[in-house]
């Protein structure tokens, strides 16, 4: 038993074909790192002279990781991690 298994069996046996709307969060990196760039690119600097695009992309890695992490966390709670 791995430490990542959910505790109770009642939670762990998922209903077939349950909708996974939270997977929409997987689009967050695409919106952040691609769709938003047209607007982001209009601001050259933040905090004085730090390039805003650079700061934005670093935040993109963090926000994107958080988004994928939330999807993972919800899937784990539902026992859906091995569901395709």
């Amino acid at each position: 038993m791995t430490p990542y298994e959910p505790g109770g069996d009642s939670v762990a046996v998922p209903t077939e074909r349950r909708r996974r709307r939270h997977w929409l969060l997987l689009t967050v990196p695409y919106v952040w790192c691609i769709a938003a760039i047209g607007l982001v690119d209009r601001v050259p600097y933040v905090f004085g002279r730090v390039p805003f695009l650079l700061v934005w992309m670093v935040l993109g890695v963090l926000v994107g990781t958080a988004a994928i992490g939330i999807v993972f966390w919800i899937d784990r709670r539902r026992g859906d991690l091995d569901r395709l």
């Binding site: 990196p29 004085g48 390039p51 993972f72 395709l84």
Partner: protein
Amino acid sequence: MTYVVALVLSVGSIVAGAVLAARGRRMDIAEWSVGGRRFGSVLFWFLMVGETFTTFALLGASQGVYVDGAPGYYVLGTVVLTASLGYWIAPRIWRAGRDQGLLTEGDYFARRFDAPWLGLVLALFGIAALLLYARVQLTGLALILQTLLGSALSGTWYVVVAGALVVAFIFTGGMRSAAFGAVVKDIALVVVLLVIALTAAGAAGVHGWYGIFDAVAAKHPAAATLPGITGAADRSVWWWGSFLLLSPLGAFVLPHAFQVYFTAKDARTIRRNQVVQPLYSLFYVFIIVIALAALLADPGLGGPDANGSLLVFVRTHSPDWLVGLLAGAGILVALVPTAVLMLTCGSLFSRNVYRVVRKDASDARQMRVGRIAVVVVTALAVGFTLLQAETLVNVMVAVYDTVTQLAPALVLSLVWRRTTAAGVLAGLLTGIVCLVVPPVTDALTALVPAGTVAGLPALVLNTVVAVVVSRATRAPSPDAVAVGMPPVDPPAARQDVGHGR
């Protein structure tokens, strides 16, 4: 000093990796090609990171920032975008591998479309692309060592020795050696770059990272936004978007990606990895800072020399031991990915070329053929690196550029039952024509906003053709379809998951 540090780090970890991997395991073709499908989260993470960050991270990424400024910041997006797509696609690839006993990308396409010939065609296509990829790595390695260690040895020798090391590395231990080597490589790379990034401001004669940004802003006011320092029209927002859309798709269809995903022990290992892998890409911040510092301290490196801007900067402004560490990490950064590329070529040849001719080849025989193939393809890769055979190289560049055009084949095979071998091949050929026949490429790029990478409209056309031709041809058998699209998860497997293994 420089030499000793570089040698101990690189050769030490390669020998240790090979010995550890070969110890106490019965080697068969699955153990050798995909590590017996037993890698847990830690080893799988190191292997994935090891494959993602190649010499490109040291050379190409820094060159992009050094030459263009802002356009080079795109590298930060590549891994997180790939990971979010991978959360959906990678477990599907892995599942097909486990259920069908697949070892290569060629195996997947051959089985999914009931067409060994398609596996053969794609295996040859894949080997050509990987040979070029290996050439890029070996050329990068020669540049790293010549810049950091000086030209006591010629580039030729570095490349030949590198080829021999690659073979020694994976001949016995296969994928497991590469994974062990990746552990040292991934740690060494990030530590070395952290140290260099922290000392970069001093070397550039300013105070702290803010000093670097401040000085770059004063000297190159255009560096902070697209299209960057050179002001090239093709570095537009459209370039940024289309490039970043294409690169995750390309990441899944390179043949070694399949093989790396097959090493995971279960789907949750892969999904967990998609969460943590992007964090490693934050180390691109170090590369970007170093590249900006190099732009201040050693300006004026143009053309191909800009590839070595980070190296020149480190060589000029860092103590010997640090130069040695970077050289050692650089050797691993080139050799670990190259080893996996060559292993993939060996498996592709053995499974999808040799087995088409000799259908009854036993496991032991496939393994032997695979090992011989590794020696041969590595010799070829070394040969291509040394020979300045431009025509041949141009052909391979074209192949490599067009590999992304396999993406519709992969995605359609996972979501649409009617996809056929003829359909995906027709789509692939359409995509290739769009990219390698200049008048067609020009016509295509005229239709989209300036800067858009031609691969993106080509991909759209490719998909349309694949769908139309698939509709017109006979669907594969239900068994074949099930390779990519298993019938709704069988209840037995689900309960198994619920109760924990």
